[in-house]
């Protein structure tokens, strides 16, 4: 009996060493942690319960039967983050480059299934050279199985991907279908085809970092939600994100003790909107002053900066925030910002996270690049996402709410629960100058007349009261009391239930 126990220990020890000390050292030399070290940082101390420690591959071709390391290049199991259940898989680059075999994939699939059954998030730590070529189609079949689980789990449990090394080829499509992708600066990249293929096919010379590094995906493609300095920081921030998320689509949003008066008055917000309507201001200041303890977990901060998305808490409960940012492109909607916000709105709706929308939008960005790029369909995504969302929706218009963009931004017309406006808001079809040019084209040569007409139009529409008269604005509120008003609005909506007619699914304009 004793011997058997000893053997278990020695087998465990061997398994935990992954690809051996030499490869571990090499991993460290690249500034990367090992699969198990990463799990240690991701989960609460000693909370990790590993499964499939001893799984080995079944391949025999190319001499593969000679080397059958325990675990097969991925560490899987469950544990807790601040006491809440999560499932995790962590690819082990020290074992055959973290390549995906039939059994490697099966291990991932197993925890995906467990997570679905038990209603807990899946967090994937990706660090893999790709398909295990020796296994051929078995490897591809494995990817396919993982993809199918990603799809099945979408909107049921939160799925988070952290790219902590290479992630190339078909492998990218598993993270692509998860809810969040985080990257580590300088040590991770993801692309469908690598620099070598790019060179062969298009003659374009590009490095892996330029093609698919953290900078490319956080700033240019918008594929990644955020990038962090190193593994330690990335995993700590994933823990912070998980604190905001419900465990599954049936669970309530997490609540935690807070130390911030929900009735806090912020007098400085009364001067946030500048006197000059063409002057920008930082919408982030409003978000941070509204949020409990000023804590804002921003997503895609470096992409489509004309809209801000992320999580805050009000009275300790998670709220998703979408806000136009006047500092970038005057806060207008365009292709990228519409897609960015639509994705976020749909995530929040899927997981019953209330939505706060802060509006200062002059309209859609004009131009051929926008029209040729399909801004019609992309803009419609955000419109659609807001309209189909049944979570509590509270909107605050701070300044401009012009044209179609006004309707899109969680207006009353899209079943917004509370639409508040600051006294500085202007709810109109367009800005006064443009409107007068259309309405009084015949008087165009006469500057005095046009000025008078513009002033008339401003008096009539450059305020929230016309909309408030119609009931499109529920209440005009003082900026300094915004936190209090919004917190109370959400408090009143905690039991909100809204049913939608049966359908297989909608046909959102993709």
């Amino acid at each position: 009996m004793k011997d058997i126990l000893t053997e278990l220990e020695s087998r465990r020890t061997e398994a935990r060493l992954g690809g051996g000390q030499r490869r571990i050292d090499a991993q460290h030399a690249k500034g990367k942690l090992t699969a198990r070290e990463r799990i240690e940082l991701l989960l609460d101390d000693s909370s990790f319960e590993e499964s499939d420690t001893f799984v080995a591959h079944r391949a025999t071709d190319f001499g593969m039967d000679k080397e059958r390391p325990a675990g097969d290049g991925v560490v899987t199991g469950w544990g807790t983050i601040n006491g809440r259940l999560v499932y995790v898989f962590s690819q082990d680059f020290t074992v055959m480059g973290g390549s995906v075999s039939e059994t490697h994939a099966a291990k991932i699939v197993k925890i995906q299934d467990m997570a679905m059954q038990n209603g807990a998030p899946v967090i994937g730590l990706n660090d893999s050279g790709g398909a295990r070529i020796q296994e051929g189609v078995m490897s591809l079949a494995g990817y396919g199985d993982v993809f199918q689980r990603n799809i099945d789990a979408s909107g049921v449990i939160p799925q988070i991907s952290v790219i902590m090394g290479p992630c190339a080829g078909g492998a990218v499509y598993s993270p692509a279908m998860t809810d969040f992708i985080f990257m580590v600066k300088d040590s991770s990249y993801m692309f469908v085809t690598g620099p070598d293929v790019v060179k062969t096919v298009t003659n374009e010379v590009v490095t892996a970092e330029e093609l698919g590094g953290a900078s490319a995906h956080t700033k240019k493609s918008g594929v990644a939600d955020a990038a962090f300095e190193n593994d330690v920081e990335a995993l700590a921030e994933v823990r912070r994100l998980v604190d905001f998320l419900p465990l599954n689509n049936q669970a309530r949003v997490p609540v935690r003790p807070f130390f911030d008066d929900p009735g806090r008055i912020e007098d400085s917000l009364d001067t946030l909107v500048p006197d000059n309507p063409n002057m920008p201001y930082d919408m982030k200041e409003l978000i941070e002053k509204l949020a409990d303890e000023g804590d804002f977990f921003e997503l895609q901060a470096d992409y489509a900066g004309n809209i801000l998305t992320g999580f805050i808490r009000l009275e300790g409960r998670t709220v998703g925030v979408v806000a136009n940012q006047p500092m970038v492109l005057a806060g207008c909607l365009d292709i990228d910002s519409s897609r960015k916000a639509a994705k976020f709105v749909r995530f929040c709706d899927a997981f019953d996270i209330p939505l706060l929308t802060l509006v200062d939008v002059p309209g859609f960005l004009p131009g051929t690049s926008q029209e040729y790029g399909g801004v019609i369909k992309h803009g419609a995504k955000l419109l659609f996402a807001y309209g189909e969302a049944t979570v509590p929706k509270v909107t605050v218009i701070t300044r401009k709410a012009y044209g179609g963009a006004y309707v899109v931004m969680a207006s009353k017309h899209l079943a917004g629960d509370f639409n508040y406006a600051w006294p500085t808001s202007e709810i109109a079809v367009m800005g006064s100058k443009g409107a007068v040019e259309i309405l009084y084209r015949s008087e165009f040569g006469d500057a005095d007349k046009i000025a008078a007409r513009t002033a008339d139009y401003e008096d009539r529409f450059a305020n929230p009261f016309v909309a408030a008269e119609k009931g499109f604005i529920d209440e005009v509120i003082m900026p300094h009391s915004t936190r209090k008003r919004v917190a109370r609005a959400f408090a009143s909506l905690r039991q909100k239930r809204q049913e939608r007619p049966w359908r297989k699914h909608d046909t959102i304009p993709l």
Partner: protein, 672 residues
């Protein structure tokens, strides 16, 4: 007494005057430009009159506009504050003609003291010690050289109408006199429209010490001790104190009596200041007389218990001075730190923008100018508020923070804590620099000259490095705070019953290059944090999210400005800006494996100094640029800012194009 007075000024001094007027039951009228529509002084005053566009020369210093405001509101008197019209004899004249009282000295006194050469002559005649020098106007460089040789080097070349360091040069030899004379003359001509020059001896180891006087024009006058203002940067005062740590009773009396003699000689009435330069042997020389209320008057008020503004108003009303010299007692020590909207890390460049956060330290309740302090006092004279705008049109000073204590050491300690507790965000400001001065050994010992900043910070200010004892204290406080924050995180809903996360006792704290292993034993009131065998008892009311932490560490209070970073805090205290990581031993072990990423070398780049829109890029790739050449124009807040080359070089890459919207530190150009 007057029923209503108008304050022909803005900012903190307007607010200061309104406070005393209100105490005296006098109604107040503020004036404001377009830029000050929502300013604090406008909110505080009983009435406010709009006087024009933002630039001062179209509003605050236009005499006609002030006169119209007086007429419109029926104000019986005007307090001019400092700057603007305060020392403009024409303004005093206009008021006199309109039968409105000027809360300041008679026109004649302003005129007499307004010119450096005339004032020096009058001072000499009144028996005031003056710097050896040539009183007359100087024609050319040859004459300047001859006079300099008579006086003996080093000499100071000064513009008669000069101020703020413009048109002023020190010459150590004949060549420097020749060069400096013409340069100063040109500067004076362009800055003041007056190129008259004079020369005087340059005093070594100089300290700037000034005497506050108060006269009623009826032959009564007192001097209210001195203020030392040696901590200056380019002749801009930064820290002042009263009394001076350098003067003895005898020198003080001599300076005071000479100052009064001068005041009487010009028929002075109201509050005024006689500035002296004092050398290392306590020889003092008259510099000039300022015929107005000084910026730094609060330190005098704190040590004398005299409300200078109240006396100015009473004297202007015609009352006899109620103070005799025997009533003036100097009590304790007061220090003033001027909070400027200037970024010390960027060569003290003025910084403008929105005050997203402005929380001064708590002022001592019940303290008002005119009260003799019994216990430590914090006084903050300010003209701004959170959410307000620091505009480019006016003085970058946003507050004057004063502390009083029974001794100099206590006043300094009070100032350190008050500065640490002063929260200002949204603009660059000199708080860290002020903190650094408060801990500088030379300042603490009182051994300073007007060259203090230039000598101690020759390459500018690069932040403060704290010693290990201080770092250890901060580490203990942060460990205790982090533990509290982590425990709160474990209280989130949805956790697995009986499998909650246990927050451990062992932590590793890294900050400022130091690493401490801490063990925390917490109880109801605080935590014992053991570092290297030493128990540091930490007690604080801090809760997660608070941006200010007052932590008693083994009985000594430290005040930290706290921001959240991954696995720790950004902590600002005592002029240092630290990233403090608090990790479990295992987290720390793994974090130590992470590569250290050095910030990119930006010395060969042109960075965007503020968030803004690129209006123009004036150079192309491959262009050779000269130092000072305009490279690009960034529009921020409707202002076009020209960015210039700091040194000669060749442009290797242009990263921005007109219309691009850039953030601070975005790279506009790269150089070879």
């Amino acid at each position: 007494m007057f029923k209503k007075i108008l304050i022909a000024n803005r900012g903190e001094i307007a607010c200061r005057v309104i406070k005393t007027a209100r105490k005296m039951g006098i109604a107040t009228v503020a004036v404001y430009s377009d830029a000050d529509r929502n300013a604090l002084h406008v909110q505080m005053a009983d009435e406010a009159v709009h006087i024009g566009p933002p630039p001062a020369n179209q509003s605050y210093i236009v005499i006609d506009k002030i006169m119209e405001a007086i007429e419109a509101t029926g104000a019986e008197a005007v307090h001019p504050g400092y700057g603007f019209l305060s020392e403009n004899p024409k303004f005093a004249e206009a008021l006199e003609a309109a039968g409105v009282a000027f809360i300041g000295p008679p026109k004649g006194a302003i005129e007499a003291m307004g010119d450096k050469i005339t004032s020096k002559k009058i001072a000499q005649d009144a028996g005031v010690s003056t710097v050896p020098g040539h009183m007359g106007l100087i024609e050319d460089a040859d004459e300047a050289l001859r006079i300099s040789e008579d006086i003996g080097f080093p000499v100071m070349l000064k513009a008669s109408a000069g101020g703020g360091g413009k048109g002023m040069r020190i010459a150590w030899n004949a060549d420097e006199v020749r060069e400096g004379f013409q340069a100063s003359k040109n500067e004076a001509a362009s800055s003041f429209g007056d190129d008259r020059m004079f020369i005087e001896k340059f005093v070594t180891q100089p300290r700037h010490i000034e005497i506050q006087v108060l006269c009623d024009g009826q032959g009564n006058g007192v001097y209210l001790g001195e203020r030392e203002c040696s901590i200056q940067r380019r002749n801009q005062k930064v820290v002042e104190e009263a009394p001076s740590p350098f003067l003895d009773e005898e020198t003080r009396r001599a300076m005071g009596e000479q100052s009064l003699a001068l005041a009487h000689a010009v028929g002075y009435a109201s509050a005024g200041t006689v500035e002296f330069i004092v050398d290392g042997d306590r020889n003092f020389y008259f510099l000039e007389m300022n015929t107005r209320l000084q910026v730094e008057h609060p330190v005098t008020e704190l040590i004398t218990g005299v409300d200078l503004v109240e006396h100015m108003i009473r004297v202007a009303y015609g009352e006899t001075l109620s103070l005799a010299q025997g009533d003036v007692k100097l009590n304790g020590w007061a220090i003033e730190s001027r909070l400027y909207a200037e970024d010390p890390y960027r060569g003290f460049l003025p910084s403008i923008g929105r005050l997203t956060r402005y929380r001064p330290p708590e002022e001592t309740p019940d303290y008002l100018p005119g009260v003799v302090p019994q216990a430590p006092v914090v006084r903050n004279d300010t003209g701004v508020y959170e959410g307000g705008e620091i505009s480019m049109y006016y003085d970058p000073m946003i507050a004057k923070l004063c502390t009083w204590g029974p001794s100099r050491a206590e006043a300094i300690e009070g100032m350190r804590q008050a500065l640490d507790g002063f929260e200002v965000e949204g603009i660059g400001h000199n708080l860290p620099f002020l903190s650094a001065v408060m801990d500088h050994p030379k300042f603490v010992s009182g051994d300073m000259t007007t060259a203090f900043i230039a000598e101690e910070y020759p390459d500018g200010f690069e932040g403060v490095t704290l010693d290990e004892t201080e770092l250890r204290r901060i580490a203990a406080a942060c460990a205790a705070m982090h533990r509290v924050a982590e425990i709160r995180r474990t209280r989130v809903s949805g956790r697995m019953d009986n499998h909650e996360r246990k927050v451990g006792k062992g932590w590793v704290v890294t900050l400022g290059g130091a690493r401490f292993e801490a063990r925390i034993e917490a109880d109801r009131d605080g935590a014992d944090v053991t570092i290297d065998g030493e128990i540091l008892r930490c007690e604080s009311a801090w809760t997660p999210g608070d941006t200010l932490a007052r932590v008693a560490v083994s009985g000594e209070v430290i005040v930290l400005k706290v921001g959240k970073i991954t696995q720790g805090f950004r902590v600002r205290t005592r002029g240092a800006d630290l990233r403090v990581h608090v990790r479990t031993p295992r987290q720390a072990e793994l974090a130590a494996l992470m590569p250290e990423k050095l910030p990119p070398d930006t010395s060969k780049m042109l960075l965007c100094p503020m968030p803004g829109l690129i209006v123009r890029v004036d150079v192309a790739e491959g262009d050779e640029v000269q130092e000072g050449q305009a490279l690009a124009v960034v529009e921020a807040m409707k202002m076009e800012n020209i960015l210039r080359a700091e040194k000669k070089g060749r442009v290797s890459k242009v990263n921005a194009a007109p219309g691009d919207s850039l953030a601070v530190d975005d790279v506009i150009l790269e150089f070879e």
